[in-house]
Every structure is written in structure tokens, then in C-alpha cells.
Symmetry: C2
């Protein structure tokens, strides 16, 4: 019964390969898009499907459900309703950003009373579906996560530099910058392919005055989000920065090492980044 | 702006003290109990209060909302409906236990094919609202979390040794034991005050064959859940056990160090243990 960690890792890799194969097949299949009608009913109804999807969403957001490739088929309408129809996604983001602001203002108040401002107080924010919303892409091209991740079409979308800001997070960003925190934007986007577009998109949306945008360089390609982002934060901390908050929509933004003083998980039931 | 960690800690302690004071006052105030009617409507309605409470519950379950002392007043009916009226709590538990079973069976399958079964594969389960449900106490004495934690009445309840099993978790427990895992039950309950009652309660409810029940001894009194439970797991791991899964209803069961291979968060919107 003493399975080695290596054996479990191999099994996990096999599962990932199977998922990738299934996803490749799935892209050949026409998946019915979620319906377009006003969808409070879908989100709030007490049908067994909605009850299951409410449980599934909680399971995904709490990192109990992992490694999923698409939204479960029976939850396509539910997730559309959650993201776009009912306003619940927006409410969830707003409530969590309120919590973040509370933490940030506590830290700022504590530090403003001290005289040793050395300019090394920092926050880390993710970019995709944290600062910038890809909901329009996921609506039009991925049926709100019912079709699996597709790197080429996502790159085409991101290259347009037209992802809108998530308003509450832009407000948080402005607050952090104005309070004197150094804001590091840490993204898994590829530096070479998407660096210019990402800088332009952030500028267009008002994310101005961040301390550094960290994109994935060639030497980190292929690494998982957890490994890559932990390493980026470690380097920031080794420069002497104190990371007071770390905000992302994926658990891979918030696990690993060098996490900072506190982490915050924004909702995103459309995709899972390992 | 360079706030020291100590300064933030002091501020946090002050907040906790304020919360404790507020709670003491709150106990003098008559809090209206949540209504008793069948409550699918409350849980699923699209009223602004229910929408807020759905966000609050997500925030609490994802550990974004921390340090709360009671359920927000406007969510008392909603949380009652969630826990008891609608069956959604039960469904959430069942879905997460399905995920746990998937992980456990993967580990068991991987390990059964190896020949080096040394009897050191282990799981850690919390007791309160993981193995045993305190929902009846929280219903009758704490208005499903709308009244703050009250140690004396909780001790009186736990002393009766009448907390029912959470059925899905009992099934998980039996599976783990029968698959050859050593199951460690790790609880913050006080050994001296509640050791006998806890053993009796577990026995009555069918939790038979666990490897060890770890209760809080005098030297760990007053420690936070995170510190105490991390230390208990560290000692287990230092004996050579490999912790493959770690299951609890509180984030303080699942944070800190010596976490094990994977953690699982069961739902509990009725109270927060730091």
C-alpha cells in the first residue's frame, strides 16, 4: 500500500493526457451553446440539475474539484446564468474585493503609523480574469467553459488587447497604487507572444502605475502555474519586497510557496489552470 | 509604509478582542430565530438578500471571508434553508466526498500494485462537522450560527455523545479503513473534558477501527487550530506516516504545515475556527 509519490504523479500525468485527448475529440463535436434568455431562473431554480451545479461550483471554487477540463455538460446553462444572466458572478467578485480592501486598508493603516516607509510593501495581482475579463471570449468562443481551453484562439483574442477591466479589481488596483503599495502583475501569458498586447490592454483599461508586469519568459514555458508563479513571487521577495496580498482567480495563483501575507480567490467557474 | 508583521498581528488581536466583546453583548440581545417553514424558497429566491448570502457563503467557504463571529444577520434564514431546509448542504457534502473517494481510490489503486505495503499510508479526518454533525446543537441553541460560539453550552452538548454521523463521511471512513489506510482523527476537543464522550460518540455512530484519536491535551490549550493541528500532523508524519488526504470543515484544519498530499474542505457556514 505504500504508493510512492512518483507513482501517483505518473497516474496524474496519464489522467491529464486522457483529458487532453478527450478534449481534442470534444472540439470536433458540436456542443450546444447555452440558451440566451434571461437566466435568473436557471441559476435560482430548484431543479436537480441546478442543485448539482451549485454544488459543483462550490466544489470547484474551494479547490475540492480539480483538474476539470470543461464545465459539466448539465451545468452549461447554469454557468452562463451565473456569469452573465443573473449578476451573481459580479456580486461574488464585489464581495470578495470588499474583503481585499478591508485587508489592504488594515495593512496601510498599520504601516502609515510607522515611520520606516522603505517602499517595499507590495501586492501581487494575476491578470486574466483578475484584472482583465475574458468573459466575452468565453461567451462567444468557449460557451462559458463548456468547450475546453484552446490556446490558439485564446492567443488571437488576447492579441486584440480588448479584454475589459473587471471594475471592482480596477478600483482595488487604484487604491493599492495610491496607498503606496508596489503592485506586481504576475501572469502566465507568454512574454514574446503577448507582452506588447498585454501592456496595451492594461493601459487601455486604466491599469496605470503598476510597479512591474511579469510575463512568462522562454525559460519558464511548460511549467505549471503553481511552480512558475511561486518562483516569480520568490524572486520578488528575494528583492526585499513584502507581499501583503496575493489575488487570483485560480488556485494555482494561490498555492505553492512564497504566497505572501494573505491570499484571495476570485471566482471563475469557466476554466481550471493547474 | 513598512508595517512590521508584528504590528499587523497586534491589530488582528485587537480585532479579535473587539469581536469577542461584541459577541458578549450579542448574547444579551434576543436574536430572532430563523423561520421554520420549508425553505427552498429562501435559498433559491432571487431577492437581494439571498443573492448577498449566496456570495457571503462562497466567500466564507473559499476562505476569503475570515474571522467572522456569527452569520450576518440578514443571512439567518438563508443559512437555515441551506443547512436544513433545501438539502443543499447535504448535496455539497456528498459531491465533495465523491471527490475525496476518487482521490482515495487512486491512491489505493496505485499502492496496491506495489509490493512495499509498510502500513504507513494514512489519512487525517477532523471530528466536529466532519465525522460528527453538530447541526442539531446549532439549530436548537445557536440559530444555525446566528448566535456566536458559546463554549459552555457546546461542551454540554458534546458531553452527551449524541452527535450523529455525517453519513457520507462515515462511508468514506469505512472505505479508508477497509482499504488499509491508517485513519487519524484529529480534533481540537479537549482531551480531559471531552475525551471519553468523544470516544463514546464515535463508537455509537460506527466510527470503529480508526488508528488513533488525537485530542487536545493541556499543553496545547489556547493554541489556534492552525498551529495545534499542524503540530499534530507533524508528529504523525515524524513517526513515518504518509498523509494522503486531510479532510476538515474549517480552513484551520487545512492550512499551516505538514498538510499531507491533498486537502479537502467540507462546507460549514455556521461557525469559523481560527
Amino acid at each position: 500500500m505504500a504508493a510512492s509519490a512518483a507513482a501517483v504523479l505518473v497516474r496524474y500525468c496519464l489522467l491529464l493526457l486522457c483529458a487532453a485527448a478527450a478534449a481534442a475529440v470534444a472540439q470536433e463535436v458540436v456542443v450546444p451553446p447555452p440558451h440566451d434568455e434571461e437566466s435568473d431562473t436557471v441559476l435560482q431554480s430548484s431543479s436537480s440539475s441546478s442543485n448539482y451545479c451549485l454544488s459543483w461550483r462550490l466544489g470547484a471554487e474551494t479547490n475540492n474539484v480539480r483538474g476539470w477540463w470543461t464545465v459539466p455538460a448539465q451545468c452549461c446553462g447554469y454557468i452562463q446564468a451565473y456569469m452573465a444572466g443573473s449578476g451573481q458572478y459580479q456580486r461574488d467578485v464585489d464581495l470578495i474585493v470588499d474583503q481585499i480592501m478591508g485587508h489592504a486598508s488594515n495593512v496601510a493603516a498599520g504601516s502609515s503609523s510607522s515611520s520606516d516607509d522603505d517602499g517595499m510593501d507590495a501586492w501581487v495581482l494575476d491578470v486574466d480574469d483578475t484584472c482583465l475579463s475574458n468573459m466575452l471570449y468565453y461567451k462567444t468562443r468557449r460557451s462559458y467553459g463548456c468547450l475546453p481551453y484552446e490556446p490558439l484562439s485564446f492567443r488571437a483574442w488576447a492579441s486584440k488587447a480588448r479584454s475589459p477591466a473587471i471594475p471592482a479589481v480596477l478600483g482595488l488596483f487604484n487604491y493599492l497604487r495610491d496607498a503606496g503599495f508596489k503592485v506586481f502583475l504576475v501572469t502566465g501569458r507568454d512574454e514574446e507572444a503577448l507582452g506588447d498586447a498585454t501592456r496595451l490592454n492594461l493601459l487601455r483599461q486604466g491599469f496605470v502605475g503598476y510597479h512591474r508586469l511579469i510575463l512568462r519568459t522562454a525559460s519558464y514555458r511548460g511549467q505549471s502555474g503553481v511552480v512558475y508563479k511561486s518562483e516569480m513571487r520568490r524572486q520578488v521577495m528575494e528583492e526585499g519586497y513584502r507581499i501583503w496580498g496575493n489575488v487570483g482567480d485560480q488556485w494555482s495563483d494561490l498555492l505553492g510557496h512564497s504566497l505572501g501575507n494573505r491570499t484571495f480567490k476570485l471566482p471563475n467557474p469557466m476554466y481550471f489552470v493547474p
